[in-house]
Symmetry: C2
Subunit: 213 residues, 2 copies
Amino acid sequence: MKRIPEVTVERLIKYLRFVEEMEKDGMRNLTAKQIAESLGLNPHLVRKDLAYFGQFGKRGKGYETEKLGETLRKIMGLDKRWKVALVGVGNLGSALLRYPGFKERGFDVVCAFDTSPQKIGRQIEDIKIESMDKMEEIVSKENIKIAILSIPKEAAEEVSDRLVKAGVMGILNFAPRYLQYSYPFRVLNVDLSLYLESLTFYLENDGKKNLSM
Amino acid sequence: MKRIPEVTVERLIKYLRFVEEMEKDGMRNLTAKQIAESLGLNPHLVRKDLAYFGQFGKRGKGYETEKLGETLRKIMGLDKRWKVALVGVGNLGSALLRYPGFKERGFDVVCAFDTSPQKIGRQIEDIKIESMDKMEEIVSKENIKIAILSIPKEAAEEVSDRLVKAGVMGILNFAPRYLQYSYPFRVLNVDLSLYLESLTFYLENDGKKNLSM
């Protein structure tokens, strides 16, 4: 059994974003070709990706936009809301607690933890900051499966081990330490430099007239 | 002339990360097949992506790891250092100023701007926070081409317009407002929810035994 590669999942997310945009624009039907063109992909690949999850397109007609959106949300687990724990309420953690995009996409940060006595008991955006001593208890009681780590790298491994033992299955890691867990646990290690690297590609190459693919 | 699609640039970045990992591990040669397998891609696609930038692989032998890394860094504009301006020193901006990954990848945040009198004149990681009134002057004097925006969405458009007029070509936008400029300017709008969405895909599907591709 081959596992679904990360690049495929990234494509599915992009399909969904595009489909939702088209839904807002009132497009009732979409073809694999249109999706492919908007993302610079091969239509064959788009058809293959989507066909894997069942036959929901019609030959020659493409996909119903609304149904495709629903199906993709279901495939991605985005047809329901997810509870999220945030660990580490420093600068980045505070910013993430205030980040409006999570709620919009179905993610509710329901608890936040820190070690600093100055922070424990304070509240950000309706979330009371709790002591990390209570982390396992709360995460397990609330049945939380996703955690965001915004802590110093020195603490990353210990804290993520504790989260996994408390029932967390997926970790979004902003700590600059590469974390890895074997199946069925998942870690996404965020590397913000990647964004700058794709910017420089364009800055470096946009001036070159002969650049085409 | 077709433009290089974003997904291709993302693949190039991934190739480079993998090649650098293999370089560290002492692998002197790499085949397109090895790169493809590590990323869940088709070897044909990897060969096509790389061949576009010149023939630097050898038939049957693959690529010299070191040379491939050098070439990719050059293609991506990562063979030199880039000066970066950061605008908005709130929670997220402060976290980004302290983010060690930028410097490691060749990006030097050399100036930071804010509107708050409490912040102007203060220093974070050797960077003195300047008034936004001085933004154009400093950005243009320092010949800065890249800016990171971590400001409220209400200010995003006005500030990015000012940056572009001052000579900035690429903007990494963390403000939750979609920004767009036409060629040759580039904006990357960061959506941190995307990370959570790919986590939920796995959490949703890992339990399904028949999931394979």
